[in-house]
């Protein structure tokens, strides 16, 4: 255990940037500079911690002790403890924040959006919450940041201030604050039952010791956690997510593909692996229930997605589906399943953000929101649509995009699960495959429409309306995320072959090593 202030400093970057953003509201260039500076500073601080974590250590940072007694460490502490799994999420969020900040600048300025100061202010606070969730050392700390994340994203969702946006924001808040209530119940229940809420490798022992006598309460408590992590948008509690797509596209991109929803699945994996522990989950039979919820969501969300014509809504349903891959991975309770789930957090983040950024770029460049209007747009915006295709391939799990790797591990996990636990689990292997097939069904038509269909909306002269690529501020981030979606894949291959791997490891943010360590922590190898 290495004691260090780095986690605190990293968290404070956006927290300090937020008031500065407010202060320089009248000078947009300086204001945006603070966002970028905070993003870069935070990312480099988090990157610094990789070294410690890779050596098998954790970075420990206690802010203060509370008055509550803790059965493990004297008093319950509020603070950060950076382990491999938390670092994966933190790296993903902080790296993507920088890219989305650039994109936001391009997007907000091209559309001349109102209330930009409020937008960047809330954005900084949202990332503050997300990183806090990633790095927190126990459930209480996690709850605090989780709520900050909920509250700070509300102004972003309702940003447009149209009646639609306001009702969307209201729904968002209603769902997620209700979720917070359940989460709090779960947190305090765990504290009361065990006297601790620290994330422990392999699960809290005092909790598994309760299994024979407190079966009901442990199950109820788990469902409270599950409801608490409604941010993971599992069905039937998903409908806030498509509604929240009224937000500006960069918000949908970062918050609804990365920070908010990932905080939800991150929480579920945390609770499954570090609070309950794999053995307890299995003995309570919760793995199967969770897997059923996830499997159901995967299939149904994909069927919904097929019916959507609005591109962002289709992506939203795709997100719901992909999040359930992660939940399923955790629910399989096997090494490969958890490995796949943990990998899918950053990988899905990169791929989905590419898709959202493309959707935003199309909207800014051409004003089109519906897929049916996008005929031939691939010829007008080749870079954007190529990036989109990369993301779409990744979603379907087709090499050479990285989505293939996490899905491969998930499938392995399902197979492993059927061998270790019960043969029924093999069903989830087929669920995974069918869901991937359905992914193809709704992503390929978009690519087809964009590249191979003749544009319909021609003028009387027969000329196509002039559509150009989006501004460079938007184009570069989406290209980078698309390239990284492929780099992660190449890094995996090169690791196996053993060439260039040190350089590729740095480029791929050491995610494979971190996942290896994290899985080792969960199963205590």
């Amino acid at each position: 255990m290495v004691e260090s202030l780095i986690p605190l400093l990293a968290i404070l970057c956006p927290a300090f940037a937020a008031p500065l953003i407010l202060l320089f509201g009248k000078h947009p260039n300086i204001r945006e500079w603070w966002t970028i500076a905070a993003g870069l500073a935070m990312f480099s601080l988090i990157f610094l911690m990789i070294h410690t974590v890779l050596s098998g250590d954790v970075v420990d940072c206690v802010l203060f002790q509370t008055m509550f007694r803790d059965s493990l460490s004297g008093y319950l502490k509020i603070g950060f403890r950076v382990d491999a799994f938390g670092l994966i999420f933190a790296l993903t969020s902080s790296s993507l924040w920088i890219l989305v900040s650039f994109y936001s600048i391009g997007y907000m300025r091209s559309l001349r959006e109102h209330a930009q100061t409020r937008y960047f202010f809330s954005f900084a606070f949202a990332i503050f919450g997300a990183i806090g969730v990633a790095l927190s050392r126990n459930l209480v700390t996690m709850y605090i940041f989780y709520e900050i994340l909920t509250v700070s994203t509300y102004p972003l969702v309702a940003h447009d201030q149209t009646p639609e946006a306001i009702s969307g924001g209201r729904k968002y808040l209603a769902y997620l604050m209700t979720a917070g209530v359940f989460f709090l119940f779960g947190v305090i229940m765990v504290y009361v039952l065990t006297g601790t809420t620290d994330f422990t490798n392999g699960g809290i022992k005092a909790l598994s010791a309760l299994a024979p006598t407190h079966k009901l309460i442990l199950t109820v408590c788990f469902f409270c956690f599950l409801l608490g992590f409604m941010k993971a948008a599992w069905m039937p509690f998903h409908s806030w997510l498509p509604t929240a797509m009224v937000a500006p596209t960069p918000v949908s991109a970062l918050l609804h593909a990365v920070a908010v929803v990932k905080a939800g699945v991150f929480g579920i994996v945390r609770v499954v692996c570090y609070i309950y522990g794999v053995d307890l989950m299995n003995s309570l039979g919760l793995g199967l229930i969770l897997a059923c919820i996830a499997g159901f969501t995967m299939i149904v969300a994909n069927l919904f997605a097929i019916a959507q014509d609005n591109l962002k809504r289709r992506l939203a349903y795709s997100t719901i589906n992909q999040l359930s891959y992660i939940i399923l991975g955790a629910a399989l309770l096997t090494q490969d399943g958890v490995r796949g789930a943990m990998m899918h957090i950053p990988f899905h983040g990169y791929m989905k953000i590419t898709l959202f950024l493309c959707a935003g770029a199309i909207m800014v460049a051409s004003g089109k929101k519906n897929i049916s209007e996008m005929a031939g747009i691939g010829r007008a915006m080749p870079v954007t649509m190529l990036a989109f295709s990369v993301g779409a391939l990744g979603m379907c799990g087709i090499p050479p995009v990285v989505g293939f790797i996490s899905k491969w591990y998930l499938c392995l996990g399902a197979y492993q699960s059927s061998l270790t636990y019960s043969p029924i689990m093999i069903v989830f292997l087929f669920t995974l495959l069918i869901a991937s097939l359905l992914d193809v069904v709704y992503f390929f038509p978009i690519i087809h429409t964009a590249f191979f269909k003749e544009p319909e909306d021609k003028d009387e002269d027969g000329k196509e309306p002039k559509i150009k690529e989006a501004p460079i501020f938007m184009l570069v981030p989406l290209t980078i995320t698309a390239i990284f979606s492929i780099i992660f894949f190449i890094a995996f291959i090169l690791r196996a072959v053993g060439i260039f791997s040190p350089y590729m490891d740095i480029l791929s943010l050491h995610i494979y090593d971190l996942v290896r360590i994290a899985v080792g922590n969960v199963f205590i190898i």
Binding site: T66, M67, I78, E147
Partner: protein, 506 residues
Amino acid sequence: MVVEHFPVLVVAVSLISAYTILVAGWLNRKSSCFISIATITFQLILALFILHHVLTWGTIHYPLGGWAPPWGIEYVVDALNAYVLVILLFASLLVAIYSWRSIQSELPAKKTVSFYVLFQLLVTGLCGITVTGDMFNLYVFLEISSLAAYALIAAAGGRALKASYNYVIMGSIGACFYLLGVGFLYAVTGSLNMADLMSLLPPLYGNRVVQAAFVFFVIGMSIKMALFPLHLWQPDAYTYAPSAVSAYIAATMSHISVYALIRVIFSVFTLDFVKAYIGMDLAICWVAAIGIIAGSVLAIAQNNFKRMLAYSSVSQIGYIVLGMGLAPATTWGFFGAVAHILNHTIMKGCLFLVAGAFIYKAGLRDIREFRGLGKRMPYTSAVFTIAALSMIGVPPTVGFATKLFLMVATLETYNYAFAGVLLLNSLLELVYFGRLIERIYLLHEEPESESELNGGTRDEKRIPYSMLIPMFIFAALCIIAGIFWLTNLATPLIEPLTDLCTGVMP
């Protein structure tokens, strides 16, 4: 030590100051506010010394006039009093600063002097209730503060008169109940001193008169603190009183009544009495739980901002009483109740000051008129948002601290129903504060006249700094105190409170 004289000084200085204001205000109307502020600042400094002394050296006993305790009046200050006294005087100070300009705009100038005389008398009464260790003395101060409050509420005239009259009737009934309780106890024990009663009462716990006295105390103080369903006087009083007064009464006076009840239950009857009657603690909890939900539901139905806050107070007082009801089972309940006295003072004080600012600016009372206030009054709206988030209980604000303590208390004792009530209430609060935040920030203002459409500005008063700064301090405290409760810095307070809770003689 000199600090041991401070409890009586706090009351005496305040009382003298009240009459000084009367005389000085005759000569110069403007001086009244400054004398009041200066006095309260002085009192606050005394209170801080007292708190420090109590936490380091232990309880202060001060026999008035040198008469030994069971016969003479005794002032007793332990950790709980000292803590409440500091909160009371701090809130008084902020409200006094705020009132200067707020009162100017809401009351005719000739009433300024009498306002501050009454205000200072109110402070005197509340301080007296806090420091005294004598049952009858407590009643005297209760009446001083109540009479001052009746007059202050009626100050605005018009509908406030009716509200005040209601309060007079209800408040007098409450005070009578209290007095009856004191009389009953005196009849069976022959003593009025709290510590003395505490030692005399245990053999008499089975006595009907003692039991009746207990019920009288509880009901009497419940009226005073507006616990549901005895809250009927309170919404009108808060709505029609001048803003500074409603802020003051909501933030301090109701909590002092709560304090008095805590004192009577824990220091006179002790928990042994409560535990002797199985189910009594649970009954208190249920009354509080119903009050929490009913207050919030009624608040949702209101369109007048101050009235909404009044009902929200009914609900929040329920939190404190719920904590008290859980006290026999777990110390976290009692601690949650005591912590919420501070927390609710901060939150409600802040919100009522904001309500006053809205009225000062444009006479806005109805929440339907709040559209687009975020642009017109950015600072006040920001303060409101922070206070509203605290009410909802978003971490790391004070509301979250209370919620955390009480949740631990309810779940430790496996009272899932009360945990559910607490959680449900935070959602209800989200409903009625969320809709306000939505109105203030998100709904666009409807242009009212041609001149505005043409970019003209209406001539609105700026909120003066003397009103803004108290609001800022409260808002900052919402977060600072919230973090303070999470840390272990409050531990020195816990131990004496736990002693009090378990009935150890101070």
